[in-house]
Amino acid sequence: MSKIEIDSVSKIFGDDPVTIVPLLDEDMSKSDILEKHEHVVGLRKVSLNIEAGEIFVIMGLSGSGKSTLIRHLNRLIDPTSGAIRIDGIDIMSVDMKELQHLRQTKLSMVFQRFALMPHRTVLENVAYGLEVRGDELKSREEEARKWIGKVGLDGYEDRYPSELSGGMQQRVGLARGLATNPDVLLMDEAFSALDPLIRHDMQHILLDLQNELHKTVVFITHDLDEALAIGDRIAILHDGVLVQVGTPEEIVLRPADDYVRRFVHNVNRSRALRVEAIMGDAVPLFEGPSIPRSSFLEEILPKFVSNEDGLVVVNEDGSVCGHLTLASTMDAIAVATND
């Protein structure tokens, strides 16, 4: 059983959305539905399984339905049809009280524009989720302080959000999301509003925390570089339809259609592809510098300068598992310029 199962979820916006659902089965196009029935198709029979402990990135441009989809997971938006199961529980079947309990304990969310409460200090913001579910003042402040420390904001407990920079505000948002110790962290374009350097820092903070915490993270972005940098798996949405799900390597090396190919075209492949994705079989008795199989190509490129014959790929424990040639590396990186 997957942690989160999204089962043929559709979302229609309009006056009478339920009547539109059968049209989806007839494969009527989004523009026809808009034109003839004045309803907007937000999501079209999206099915996804998200596993416990992975960072699952949902990628798409604005209007692709990605923000709509993530809001279905904690029912900030209800689907028009389809089912969503978290730990096997159909969240459409729970009542308001159970839903609130679910939001207080199991799911939390980090927002694009931070959505901090301007009238509360950093400490009170981070403790908000704990306050809502009724934790004691002392224990929730202790817990909040711990998370403020983990995101590197020690000393800012009593500041107000308006006194902090964007990057710091989002650290508060992240700490607030983590403070309730949820299984699932929903991140809605959480780093999109930050400038590139800060965004990069935040990605690292998230990855470091994830190494320690192993949450199930659902991360929305419109930036493929970001998706490739942090995603264990990536789903690509286009006009409310799921076009591809796969690992970063699969997305880059085998894009499912032209839409995905256009995205991948602009990506820095050496930063997206790992050695293990393109390595060949180990060559017996070959001597050369060794490189870890999980390194990105970008990291090992300089090693070819004095070792044109190839590099030895090793597992984490140091045992040899493959061979990487300059030619295959160049090939993998150069595809983008060929097409």
């Binding site: 904690n74 900030l76 839903l99 609130q100 309990h101 679910l102 939001r103 207080q104 304990t105 799911l107 939390s108 969310m109 927002f111 524009r113 931070f114 959505a115 901090l116 409460m117 301007p118 009238h119 908000y128 989720g129 306050e131 809502v132 579910r133 107000y160 308006s162 309730t180 929903l186």
Partner: protein, 285 residues
Amino acid sequence: MFPETLEWPLERWVNQFLDWLIVGYGDQFEAFSGVILRILIQIESMLRAIPWWGMIIIIAALAWHASRRWQLSLLVTICLVLIGSLGLWDMAIQTMALMIISVLISILVGLPVGVLMANSNRLRSILLPVLDAMQTMPPFVYLVPAVMLFGLGKVSAIVATVIFAIPPLVRLTDLGIRLVDADVMEASRSFGTGRLKQLISVQIPLAMPNIMAGINQCTMMALGMVVVASMIGARGLGEYVLTGIQRLDVGKGMAGGIAIVALAIIFDRITQAYGQRKMKTHGPK
């Protein structure tokens, strides 16, 4: 001439309705009147029990608490001394008591109505024209029925003052709550916040600068009604001005008028300072 057949007997209907109200529910109105009067007398005797210098200290302290500036404390002290030196201290206290209870009732009624209005577009579309009417209707029109229902005196004055002063508070509460950042509301929902908790912990605090502006407006409108209210028997500064006018005693009228302005400055600056301080820490960036 407008054709007579299109005329309708609104006058007679209103009169009949009022008669029916007085005959049928006179006792209830009287009982309500009694309750308000008791509260008013409580507040008034409490204020009177404070010596004049005590009152100056309390209000100056309040001004400092609101603004964290000694200049405001000095200003309100000057205003209070001015009122006392005009020989109008007791009357000012009476007026103050009347205002405090009018504003309290306005908040008690206006705040919940404003909150409900912010949550329902339908209620809003019904209430907006009612509020418009309350603000533009000449006060004398409801002064007389108020007297018929609540009797001559302070309670009628309070009812009329509340009708006159409540609209800006309702409007600004509605506005303040509607202006609360939708992202913040969504965030609070995403953490499993219930409706009531959301109202208390997010919406009202964030709407506070606007609500305080509403209370400020409400207070000023209430002061504006002082002279009119004195026509139906409210005591205090309004009465002083009214007798001055009736006797063509310009000096007396002027002294009363200045005292009212001094009171207005005190109330205005203090409530405004509270609103601005809220804006600094609580308002949007």
